[in-house]
Symmetry: C2
Subunit: 247 residues, 2 copies
């Protein structure tokens, strides 16, 4: 993943199909962890998962190791793998760091982006807006919205020339998406996010760096509030036993 993200083209990895079983398993696992199919803290038993993902044990282990460095999975000595736990403290950290990274990326993007980039921003915003309109009607619309929201944020900073900043942004976005989906499980997507996206889009195309970063910061921080008001049992829930003995 970081391979393509860092060194290769700017082509989205989602487009190209996986070249190896390891990569395929890695992406499916990552998606399922982010979407909460594998909830935080769940024990990831290789023997069981190899059937579910239809790959050998060694292959699955390699995929899990990839997720370890992404901090979506933790490996504990000789005690196997586990979905990375969540906590409010961790999400506060993620959010603040994301603000730092993403505003810097947006600043650079606004400073350096060309007309083509502006076009892509408007296009991504339009696609996102359409998905937002459909949110109440169809049930399947939320997956669309999630995808287009990710693309919108990605396109916004796509003119930032730093591969490393983009790499870190992707990691942090994925992390916060995991939290957001948990909070959205109860609370629906609020109405005012569209207005925020509108402001963000306008300020960006107008090349108003300060305004855009301000809106973006508030936009990101708003998700933190949503998670703060989440029932506490969600945060400490560890599906398969938080068997964390006092050591």
């Amino acid at each position: 993943m970081s391979d393509a993200a860092l060194h290769h083209s700017a082509a989205p990895e989602a487009a190209m199909e996986p070249k190896t079983l390891v990569e395929g398993a890695y992406r499916r696992l990552r998606r399922n962890i982010v979407e909460g199919v594998h909830p935080p803290g769940e024990k990831l038993r290789v023997e069981h998962l190899k059937e579910q993902y239809d790959v050998g044990a060694g292959t699955l282990r390699e995929a899990l190791q990839l997720l370890v460095t992404d901090a979506l999975v933790v490996a504990q000595g000789q005690r196997g793998f586990r979905v990375a736990p969540i906590s409010l403290k961790d999400f506060e950290d993620i959010t603040r760091t994301r603000v730092l990274i993403e505003t810097e990326a947006l600043r650079q993007s606004i400073a350096l982006g060309d007309d083509d980039w502006e076009g892509r921003v408007l296009a991504a915003f339009h696609r996102l807006s359409r998905a937002e309109e459909r949110l109440d009607d169809e049930a399947s619309a939320r997956e669309d919205w999630e995808e287009r929201n990710r693309v919108f944020h990605e396109v916004l900073i796509s003119a930032c020339p730093s591969r490393w900043i983009q790499h870190f942004q992707q990691i942090l976005y994925r992390q916060s998406e995991r939290y957001r989906r948990l909070s959205l499980f109860r609370n629906p997507i609020p109405r005012d996010v569209h207005a925020e996206h509108q402001l963000l889009c306008d300020a960006t195309v107008a090349r108003d760096s300060e305004a855009a970063c301000k809106v973006l910061t508030e936009h990101i921080l708003r998700t933190l509030d949503a998670v703060r008001h989440m029932p506490t049992e969600f945060l400490n829930a560890a599906e398969n036993g938080p068997k964390v003995r006092p050591a």
Copy 2:
């Protein structure tokens, strides 16, 4: 690595010994890549490396996958692994991103660090200074210096409460260490780094955030100059054939 770095204690991973063969191979490989034993672009053949590192093929593959997400190794479809290539453009990116991350970390560290932290900063600086004195005499002193330099930079930001910022800092430091060691292969460590470290240490303990960040920024950027003046054949050298066909 990110496991310990992100979720566990602040204990340095170097201290605790590896719990599995995968982790052991991962660390040895990482060290050898950073130190240039495996030069940039080198093909990493599992069949050969398994003897060198004395582990099975599967184990070595898992270790390599861990290095992929660290961006020290790149995996190419069905064409095996390779040490991540280097370029001036990449190092400029690393350097700028490192300035962004590390100055923010230092700012937070200065704002939140307690007396104990100040003590650790002074101690790390002292140890680094001693190593710098020995640089000309003994040949083995450079490894000491590298280690203590890393610790000094780590301790400086150790009071920053963000695990994520510290995580990213570690990744970027490792990346730039790889470049620095290449430039140091010819040029020795210049005299004035000690003066820079002194200024950095003084400003930090004096809680002068702006001055400290300014010195740190210049300090990091200085390494970029050193690499810029490096013979170009170093940068594009790919030991085992840059077999990058036009595709």
